[in-house]
Symmetry: C2
Subunit: 596 residues, 2 copies
């Protein structure tokens, strides 16, 4: 149940696929030299493996708990968070102006993966702080930035996102929490928020709640939602802590997984009103929240990848250790189960999907860096469009993938996998939240269909597919059975994806329910095809390394074999998905409610 | 979280697809008239819904627990089992000679599904007793039958299967438990057995352990394993209980799911030896165990179906109740989420897969009845071969399906699904054992490939495919978009399955590891195609009923729509699976152990 960060794989993806050498020529990204990046990743890997990873299983057995409005986090979390903050890990990707390291997203990305592979429950507090920092950087006043950013970036305080209410889950139009202006620039906030991750804890002296609420004369629906800072303790002008604010944790949830992460019900204003300050302008809260949510969605995708990697590592270790039955090809006695073809199939399925999702996410991070740092506004804009197309896929597909992978992770263990002490089952439980929070897979798919495909008539999607075509040409030019299989599968996949993009763009107006019947399948198809694309690129790079006499042929041969597996076993799902999307809405929509 | 048995669906399948009207003409099955069967099912449904189903969630929260060698089962289980036994439900399918009801397997099958939908943890004790009864009927001496069968059939005692040891899971060749003859016809048994379901409990006064062990001069491997009866309490000549036997529960497991079902570590012979008697002949234990295991494997398939049905019902209820967001086609205010296309897609996916797996299992049960009761030995033999081909598919596919379905069941609930109080998460946890115990999916697939396909050169598989072809001809003759889509998908599926059967049969000798690389995928493909076949037959029956003016058109239209959904969304996976099986072994087998 140890975790060893796959640094070599991560660096391969960063250098060979995600363009680190381009990213670190961007203005403001020059510090991210290959050497520095490797050193940062190595330090991060040590911290994660030595300090955080050992807490994952023990904190599941003894979760955070609530008592008298307080939450005590699992044993070891407080010290680990102190170490995390002191080493500056909260600030990796945040501006140096506020004490961060100012490194590109491409460098922060593997750090986030590692932390989540070590413990999703622990990593969540950092993920939420990242989101709060992002929102304040975007929309906070100078005073708010001066007050809150440095403590958040340093890990002295943490941040939360308060969106959900009992009647307002996926539908934020239904938010009822009220914010009443007091005439002195502050507001009094009243309402109940649920599912607030780390809404209460004992890791830091203060918690900065970002809260969606309505002012008294706000319009109905999503256009009347504003964003407020409501700190647990008010902050004095000198930055010291003032009075306890009227924001209290009344309970935490009993959950399937991520048990060490306290999920709070927060009550605002039961004792006179919680003091808050407006972020940005009134009624623009959802817009700000979406900025932070896009960052968080990408981060949740990384949670899926990290968790799947951890599950894979544990399964490999078990498969090498557990001796059972003879080798099918003949053996003197029983062999370790990694010799059995179906165990190997499961391991390759896990491995190839983790590698594909990682490569796609890191490629996305590199694109995001170009989108934010490039000198040319047109280049920034085109890269931003591609990044924004990828975000729902990275979030939705990587997290759905993590449920497939952790399921196989249990299965590889046989009966031992079902025993909680083994630890494989925890990953299966933890994974289930990832397709739900920060927007369910269906919400990601709505975004992919509506804002990311239909709005531009599929232009961005097709521009990405044209890049896939370029890779296909390179594959066709390579010899050998592996590249032939990869080429054929990628071609079938990209044809299917293109057909679906056209179907979606063409039919939205006339058959909106039909199109949305296939939205999640479209997201899955896009994940598979784009994942297959980056795997194919990895295989091409690997072949070039081998041809160039690179010493590490075993590593590169494994890249080709893994891409081949992905092509034969995962990419081949594409044409079935195409049919389900394009032809399958009749079956989805035929029944009346009463027929269920 | 209530459960309502889908009696109408069950009776439809029994009458229209599984041939109840043929089964009840078989010798010994004449009591199973349509009226009797309906009455039995209605009574069983009442018992399950009123007595057992309410215990499912509470018993998960307060599982069975161990203390001083005893196991106290969850609150309510003792009374429920008493009621179960008194009503005669343990004996539904067992011979009247020993107090059973002597009903065909086709009638017992929905009863088993209902009990498992109500509580898998509870139903397991009955499932294990069924297996013990089956083994004793097959191989027990007259004295053993006289002593043990009536108390087992009546539910006065329960039975267990003791196979697994720490070093012997899937590989029973590694069994070490010893049985030493005492010269008086009894043996002393020594050893440790793990993962023994209901190996200890407080439901009944005695427990009949069936134990695999080796006699002193037994050959090595699976050919040296014998089967023994080792009761918890020895039984006197008059049937009364004698001394406590030396078989003790030293602990129970802390599991991911089915928490109310005690999974025992049993220690035999630590205090001088546990007294056992040999079942049948020495060294034929595995053969007897396989008889009972085949029955148990079919039963585990039903567990998957029952659990998936329960998860589906809960998801439908939530989707009708939970109001969130407007209708995509426009609505004045927010609507229940069953109006949203992706929720509906998930519900249809759950529904169609449950219906397909149920239909296939019930069809299998009907074939088993013909195989056991028909007067003509040749008819018995050909039906037995088909049934035995279906068993690993019914077990493997239905249980894998239950993991897909319960995952969607959580997803439909959104954030509430992740909260344990909701109950959806329990199904997701419970489902994970089903692909592991009674032989993992890979073990089922080994059986499907080796004994069921290669041994006869694919003859039985092809005989089933030729029946699928007959259905395809009927589909082609039907008009309309639904039947056109179903026909095309089934045709593609059956072509893929036939190609895979030929590949498996042809390549086993030259490329055994390659063939077994795709064994689980072959099982999945067979499940999908045969599931699609029975759904297509259901649609044809439904259309005939509609054409004939049957009053219940809504019910029959739903059958056609559900078959259409299955064709477009599930059957369309077939050609991708074919490629993965036939072309995909290179990627599975390429890496050396060190490359992992």
């Amino acid at each position: 149940m140890t975790y060893k960060a796959p640094l070599k794989d991560m660096l391969f993806v960063m250098n060979e696929l995600a363009g680190l050498s381009t990213v670190n020529t961007l203005p403001g990204c020059e510090d991210a030299t290959a050497d520095t990046v490797e050193a940062v990743l190595e330090e991060n890997a040590k911290f994660c493996a030595n300090v955080v990873a050992p807490l994952n299983h023990s904190s599941d057995k003894e979760p955070s708990f609530w008592h008298d409005g307080q939450v005590s986090t699992s044993k070891g979390f407080k010290d680990a968070f102190k170490g995390f903050a002191e080493a500056g890990w909260q600030g990796v990707q945040h501006p140096t102006d506020f004490g961060g390291q100012g490194l590109p997203k491409l460098v922060a990305t593997p750090c986030i993966e590692m932390l989540n592979a070590s413990s999703i429950s622990f990593a969540l507090v950092a993920l939420l702080s990242d989101g709060a920092i992002e929102a304040l950087l975007t929309a906070g006043s100078d005073e708010q930035k001066a007050t809150y950013l440095e403590p958040l970036v340093s890990g002295k305080w943490t941040g939360t996102m308060n969106l959900t209410e009992p009647q307002a889950g996926s539908d934020l139009a239904a938010v009822r929490t009220r914010a009443v202006p007091q005439g002195d620039g502050t507001y009094k906030v009243f309402g109940t928020k649920i599912f607030i991750t780390y809404g209460e804890h004992d890791l830091t002296e203060n918690i900065v709640h970002l809260v969606l609420a309505r002012t008294p004369d706000a319009p109905a629906g999503v256009k009347g939602i504003s964003l407020f800072i409501v700190p647990k303790f008010l902050v004095n002008a000198d930055g010291s802590l003032g009075a306890r604010n009227d924001a209290h944790c009344v309970s935490i949830e009993h959950k399937l997984g991520i048990k060490a992460s306290p999920t709070a019900v927060l009550q605002f204003g039961d004792n006179g009103g919680a003091i808050g300050t407006l972020v940005g302008e009134e009624n623009r809260g959802l817009e700000y929240m979406f900025i932070m949510m896009n960052a968080a969605r990408f981060g949740v995708g990384l949670q899926g990848i990290g968790l799947a990697e951890r599950s894979y590592q544990q399964a490999v270790a078990f498969a090498k250790d557990r001796v059972q039955s003879r080798d099918l090809a003949g053996s003197a006695g029983p062999v370790s189960i990694i010799h059995h073809p179906d165990v190997r199939r499961m391991l390759m399925s896990m491995r190839s999907q983790v590698e594909a999702a990682r490569a796609l996410a890191y490629v996305g991070a590199g694109i995001s860096d170009v989108a934010h740092h490039h000198e040319d506004a047109a280049v920034r804009a085109s890269n931003l469009a591609v990044y924004e197309y990828l975000v729902p896929i990275i979030k939705g597909w990587s997290t759905e993938m993590s449920q497939d992978v952790t399921r196989d992770g249990v299965q590889v263990h046989g009966g031992m996998g079902f025993i909680e002490e083994t630890g494989a089952a925890q990953h299966y439980r933890d994974a289930k939240i990832l397709t739900i929070y920060e927007g369910t897979t269906a919400i990601q798919a709505n975004d992919l269909v509506g804002r990311k495909t239909v709005r531009d008539g599929g232009a961005v999607a097709k521009s990405i597919i044209s890049q896939v075509r370029e890779t296909e040409a390179l594959l066709a030019a390579q010899g050998g059975a592996d590249f032939k299989a990869i080429h054929r599968a990628l071609l079938d996949g990209s044809v299917a994806l293109e057909a679906v993009v056209e179907y979606v763009a063409a039919n939205m107006k006339t058959d909106i329910k039909g199109v949305f019947s296939g939205s999640v399948l479209y997201l899955k198809l896009a994940g598979i095809v784009l994942g297959g694309w980056v795997m194919a690129r990895a295989a091409l790079v690997a072949q070039a390394k081998i041809d160039g006499g690179d010493g590490d042929a075993l590593f590169y041969k494994a890249k080709i074999a893994t891409a081949r597996f992905f092509a034969d076993h995962i990419l081949t799902q594409a044409s079935g998905l195409r049919t389900a999307i394009v032809e399958g809405s009749a079956g989805v929509l035929a029944l009346t409610e009463d027929q269920f």
